[in-house]
């Protein structure tokens, strides 16, 4: 509770960020809310529909496809990303020669504009002249499957998502540095091996941070997967990579169904909240056991 009290005493420091958040995210979200309950194509004045848009989504098979796709991609990419970020953080937390360069390299993709790396991946994955295809051919594997099969394309999207682990690595490096060195020294003197130290010290000490990152990452993965889905696969093949945000985008800006798009956004928001709630529930339980 002292954390909350400290926040209440110093809340004004969050004001600049909070104002920006309100202007750029809160206000548009608020404006989208009435839109979700109306029919609006940008040409005619909006017409109130009540729950009509939501009912439509409920009966829209493509909505369920998109939701399923998004959840599948998140289910693959979030744990993988976290695992990879943890590995990198544990490799890179120690000050060594050249480690700064490697840390920057890990963070760089997160700082690159989405569109830039999406185009980059499009080139990498090109079956004719992309380096990935070339690499596969070197091992004698035919390089034409991954973007033409729905399930494979989804997996490719999830793998591309691993690209964005920079922030996780930074946070995990910081969290790892917070663990007192004396605990590691003691473990060494007590004869604990590397695996025991990881399992009994590093992992439990990082667990709260890891779970919090998982929550954040799951919520973010709905958004970050949008650009590659739009640029690399355009939702195809056979709607295999039609992700929820992409479907929202198509409805809003391609079919001019702004009301329906807003309703879908609302549904996406609800799903995100549900995911966070489930993870927070586990966070509570695990930290009570672990820490």
């Amino acid at each position: 509770m002292s954390g909350l009290r400290a926040f209440l005493r110093n809340w004004h420091w969050t004001l600049p960020g909070f104002v920006l958040l309100l202007l750029l995210l809160g206000l548009p979200a608020l404006m989208a809310l009435p839109l979700a309950f109306s029919d609006f194509d940008g040409l005619h004045p909006p017409r109130y529909l009540g729950l009509g848009n939501l009912a439509k989504a409920w009966n829209d098979p493509l909505f369920w496809t998109a939701l399923g796709n998004s959840l599948t991609v998140a289910a693959w990419s979030v744990p993988l990303r976290l695992l990879l970020a943890l590995g990198l953080a544990l490799l890179l937390h120690r000050p060594r020669r050249g480690v700064g360069l490697l840390r920057s390299a890990a963070l760089a993709p997160s700082l690159t504009p989405d569109i830039a790396w999406a185009l980059l991946w499009l080139w990498i994955l090109n079956p004719l002249y992309g380096p990935f295809a070339w690499l596969l051919q070197a091992f004698g594997i035919a390089p034409d499957i991954w973007l033409t099969d729905a399930a494979a394309a989804r997996r490719v999207l999830a793998l591309i998502g691993l690209w964005l682990l920079g922030e996780l690595v930074v946070v995990l490096i910081a969290a790892r540095k917070e663990i007192p060195q004396e605990l590691y020294d003691l473990s060494t003197v007590e004869g604990a091996g590397a695996w025991t130290v990881f399992r009994r010290l590093t992992l439990p000490m990082l667990l709260p941070v890891l779970l919090l990152l998982a929550c954040r990452d799951a919520a973010l993965s709905f958004q970050t997967s949008f650009t590659p889905a739009l640029i690399i696969t355009k939702g195809g093949p056979q709607f295999g990579t039609l992700l929820l945000p992409l479907y929202v985008y198509q409805n809003g800006f391609e079919y001019l169904r702004f009301g329906y798009a807003a309703a879908l956004t609302l549904a996406m928001f609800a799903v995100t909240l549900l995911m966070i709630a489930v993870q927070l529930f586990w966070l509570r339980r695990w930290t009570r056991i672990g820490a």
Binding site: E182, D185, L186, S187, T188, V189, E190, G191, R200
Partner: protein
């Protein structure tokens, strides 16, 4: 039996320990005291295997261990911060070392519970470290260190994170806990009262060199050199640059302190440093510091008086030099008063003014 022989340690190519030798018998407590930066922690870390040894040998019960990884040396270490795992209960903390070495959970817990029972830790077993007081944390850390029955127990500033009130009690706890153990205990501290209270033998470390290693009384009464003399004692030993005249008289500047020293510590005609503890300077009317035998008198002016309760420290000025004297709390001492200070010359320590090493009478002390 822990033996260090000609141990040298370098950190970042800077020598931290220089050719250090000492031994600690099973059940013995050796305390190494020294100012910060003297290499105390490095000494423990080298013995534990956490700091690389440049040359020399570390033996445990005759077996050289410096090539072994820390976990195979059979030493336990108690860190300054106690290094209790914050996410584990006291019981799990106690079991950590045994479990890490592959002991079954049930056996490890039985042993931990038994130890906790003898040391009155049972009510704490289910708690997390953050729910313990400083003193309790220290006891848990110590119990954990000894639970494995290591051959050597290393303690790094075990009391420094406790407040003054608790320290005296915690000192007794360490003695009590270690009393039942055969572990050779090596403790480092910068706190001299802690060092004196806990040591069977006391070593003074300075810039990586062990200057003296002897029972605490000996180190206090017969310091091997000026550094040791000034490091131990609160306030520090008074030191006067004196001259031994050719006729045997002892001169401090223009003042004749003694017509004839009974056993001159050095050749006649030499310059010397005379060291006298504050308790060996006696104020007129004081019952403290009165020694039989030859003494010297020195006119001095009282500068300040520090009443400490059980004693008072009187700071005096004699010919521009500050001197500290100890006196009983009842003695009335007026500031600014000039008085004849009596020096107990028989208790004086003598040092070479150039090397700082102790001369004749003090040389009986066991040298490191």
């Amino acid at each position: 039996m822990l033996e260090l022989q000609d141990l040298s340690v370098e950190l970042d190519r800077r020598p931290v320990l220089r050719s250090l030798s000492l031994s600690v018998a099973p059940g013995e407590r050796v305390v190494i005291a020294g100012p910060s930066g003297s290499g105390k922690s490095t000494l423990l870390r080298a013995v534990a295997g956490l700091a690389p040894v440049r040359s020399g040998e570390i033996r445990l019960d005759g077996r050289p261990v410096q090539a072994l990884p820390p976990g195979q040396r059979d030493v336990a270490m108690m860190f300054q911060s106690y290094a209790l795992f914050p996410h584990l209960s006291v019981l799990e903390n106690l079991c950590f070392g045994l479990r890490a070495r592959g002991m079954a959970r049930r056996d490890a817990e039985d042993r931990a519970r038994a130890a906790a029972h003898t040391l009155d830790l049972t009510p704490l077993l289910a708690r997390r470290p953050r729910e313990l007081s400083g003193g309790e944390r220290q006891r848990v850390a110590l119990t954990r260190a000894l639970l494995r029955e290591p051959k050597a127990l290393l303690l790094d500033e075990p009391l420094s994170s406790l407040d003054t009130q608790l320290r005296v009690r915690a000192r007794a706890e360490i003695l009590k806990t270690h009393a039942g153990s055969r572990a050779a205990m090596l403790l480092v501290t910068h706190d001299q009262s802690e060092a004196m209270a806990l040591a069977d033998r006391l070593g003074v470390l300075h810039e990586g060199r062990l200057l003296q290693l002897a029972p605490p009384r000996t180190v206090y009464a017969e310091p091997a050199n000026l550094f040791v003399a000034r490091f131990l004692g609160q306030p520090a030993m008074n030191t006067l640059e004196v001259q031994l005249a050719l006729d045997g008289g002892l001169w401090w500047g223009e003042t004749l302190l003694s017509r004839r020293l009974v056993s001159p510590p050095a050749a006649l005609g030499r310059r010397l440093v005379m060291g006298l503890r504050p308790e060996h300077l006696s104020l007129p009317g004081s019952r403290w510091g009165r020694e039989e035998g030859p003494g010297a008198e020195l006119q001095a002016t009282v500068e300040t008086v520090e009443p400490l309760g059980e004693q008072q420290i009187v700071w005096l000025n004699a010919g521009g030099q500050r001197l500290a004297a100890r006196a009983e709390p009842e003695l009335r001492v007026g500031r600014g008063v000039s008085l004849p200070l009596r020096l107990a010359l028989t208790r004086a320590c003598w040092f070479d003014p150039d090397s700082g090493e102790a001369l004749a009478p003090a040389s009986g002390a066991a040298r490191a």
